[in-house]
């Protein structure tokens, strides 16, 4: 399972016998990505998407993202449109982490993710 950025609960993936793969850039020119993310977006996110577009991660069974900044979220969205992907998941995170509701919300999201992971 390939994943973008932080917040993805690798613990749940490991116990489900899923190998989490943190998707990274290549330090090579991202020559495929500009038609999908213009230059404003961060080089790392663009490079990650470039790896998907170039087929470097074609061994993955699925990809996921934990709600993080807008840059990898855009790479995630473009990936789903342009790279054949069997399974995907967007894990929501509490925006206001100091709110008294944050823990309950996150617990619910993790439980939902575990169910989705079990089904796949």
């Amino acid at each position: 399972m390939g994943y973008f950025c932080t917040y993805v609960p690798e613990e749940i993936l490991y116990v489900a016998n899923v190998l989490p793969v943190r998707m990274l850039g290549s330090h090579k020119p991202p020559n495929l990505v500009t038609p999908h993310m213009f230059d404003m977006w961060c080089p790392f996110s663009r490079d990650c998407l470039n790896q998907g577009l170039s087929g470097r991660y074609d061994y993955l069974d699925g990809i996921m993202i934990g709600q993080s900044c807008l840059h990898p979220r855009q790479a995630f969205g473009a990936w789903l449109i342009n790279v054949p992907t069997k399974w995907s998941y967007h894990l929501s995170m509490p925006n206001a982490v100091r709110s008294p509701h944050a823990k309950k919300f996150l617990r619910g999201e993790l439980e939902d993710f575990k169910k989705a992971d079990d089904r796949s």
Binding site: H36, F38, M40, H71, R73, Q74, L80, I81, P100
Partner: protein
């Protein structure tokens, strides 16, 4: 003042955290007004499907401002329902065009470079009208996708036959409208969702081409802009992009953009200046 303010506390306390008493009748009226403003702005935008378009996007930026400032305001809700909507309807009935020599209808995306709205006036010289934009339609407008898959204005409470019963009901309706109707949040729901909505708009509003401002000034509305471009291109529409910044004039090259428009409009669309 309670440290952990929440809607739940608000409901029970009868008073705001400021200690002021809540006027429930006023709250109900304000929620009804918000529905009226958001729905009738969408209805006015819907009228822009007409050929020629009764509104151009540059004018729409001025007209949506009241809603951005205070959509629950009695006068503003009345403005959208009783003044603007009938006037735009009248323009459609009498074929009064926003751009009198309309030849091509374009769709935009995200906010414009605010310091350079004359870009739209420049396009008018070629008879090009910017008739639609997900951002402009939905920053204030509430919409829904109907059973046929078409984008239609979200109904007012009156049209839904709903009378607000109490404070809880008013707040739930407000949340429902914001969550279900406000497509402005589409960029945050994923690329495919945004692309599908923009494609629907392009089809329903009879759009001929896209001119997309790659907006370095708003990461939110700039989400998935290149996929929007690709989506329009897959529909067979020619699309031009130009980089700029809605908030920082130093990041916009007016002369270069005008030159790109010239090339796109003359070479790709095959138009000549008509004004």
């Amino acid at each position: 003042m309670p440290r952990n303010f929440s809607v739940g506390n608000w409901r029970i306390s009868k008073k705001l955290t400021t200690g002021r008493k809540i006027d429930d009748e006023k709250l109900a009226r304000k929620v009804e007004n918000t529905y009226r403003s958001c729905s009738y702005w969408a209805k006015a935008c819907e009228l822009n499907k007409a050929v020629p378009a009764p509104l151009d996007e540059k004018t729409m930026f001025s007209l949506y401002v009241l809603g951005t400032l205070e959509k629950s305001n009695d006068d503003f809700a009345d403005f959208y329902e009783k003044l603007l909507y009938p006037e735009v309807k009248d323009r459609v009935a009498n074929k009064i065009a926003a751009v009198s020599n309309e030849q091509w209808r374009i769709i935009g995306d995200s906010q414009p470079p605010w310091g350079f709205l004359n870009v739209y006036r420049y396009l008018e010289k070629y008879g090009v009208v910017s008739a639609a934009n997900l951002y402009t339609f939905s920053l204030i407008g509430w919409w829904k996708v109907n059973e046929k898959g078409d984008l239609v204005p979200y109904p007012t409470l009156k049209e839904q036959g709903i009378t607000i019963k109490d404070r809880d009901h008013a707040l739930r309706l407000l949340a429902e409208g914001e969550l279900k109707g406000k497509l402005m949040w589409a960029p945050f729901y994923g690329a495919k969702y945004k692309v599908d909505l923009v494609n629907k708009i392009a089809k329903q509003w009879k759009i001929d081409a896209g001119i997309i401002h790659l907006n370095r000034g708003c990461e939110g509305t700039a989400q998935h802009q290149m996929e929007v471009k690709n989506g329009l291109a897959k529909m067979g529409l020619p699309v031009m992009t130009f980089e700029g910044n809605m908030a920082d004039e130093r990041e916009f090259d007016e002369a270069r953009t005008a030159r790109m428009i010239d090339l796109f409009v003359t070479e790709t669309l095959g138009l000549k200046k008509v004004a």
